[in-house]
Symmetry: C2
Subunit: 129 residues, 2 copies
């Protein structure tokens, strides 16, 4: 099947499918006319990538996960290790963001939010250190 149908059936845009190919994640056949030709197995790979990306795995991780997926002799420990490292990264970023949000929310709560110019948010940003 051509890239358009592969995109429709995998839920991955044609643009991204080509990109994943440059990254070595999918390797479709080529027809004589130069068109990419996707097999069902390629579709499965594309869906795998989509699911992994939906969980925000970076492509580097996706590459490793794909390799493990294909490896019948993999150790589930390897998969789990990648997943848990990613979980840690996600949680750390999420926490950092929520800390920023909380601190800003606190400042905003003390801001009149009217026509007056004085504002604790700007006061905070203005501090010297």
């Amino acid at each position: 099947m051509n890239i358009g149908e592969a995109a429709r059936r995998s839920g991955v845009s044609a643009k991204m499918i080509r990109h994943y190919e440059t990254q070595g994640l999918v390797t479709p056949q080529r027809l004589v006319n130069g068109y990419r030709d996707y097999a069902e197995a390629d579709l499965a790979v594309l869906r795998f990538i989509r699911h992994a990306r939906a969980l925000a795995f970076p492509l580097e991780d996706v590459r490793k996960l794909l390799a493990l997926w294909r490896d019948r002799n993999r150790a589930s420990a390897d998969v789990r290790q990648i997943a848990l490292a990613h979980v840690a990264a996600l949680e750390s970023k999420a926490q950092a963001m929520q800390a920023m949000a909380a601190s800003l929310r606190h400042l905003a709560a003390h801001c009149h939010g009217d026509a007056r110019p004085d504002c604790p948010i700007l006061d905070e940003l203005e501090k010297s250190p």
Copy 2:
């Protein structure tokens, strides 16, 4: 003062100071030899930017906040509106990440994590839809 000292005293790298200049956020004088020359007011701006970036405000927001900061007739409502919109963005991203983390954590909890190949994490990524 030259860019090196400005970097030291503001906590912003020389590289980023130059970048902020290309974005129109800081506009130091130039000496005859072409060197940038920072006044105390520029330092204050750089610190302001650093604080705003520490709260993950995108540069576009920083630009607006700087304008309001300089405007003696600003309405604190405008500042607050920018801040709260950013808070909403932060919280939404943080929530999305935590949802992903939670779902992955759940999958990982059901993964043996040993030498066996079967793994619910891969099973999930492999699903058809």
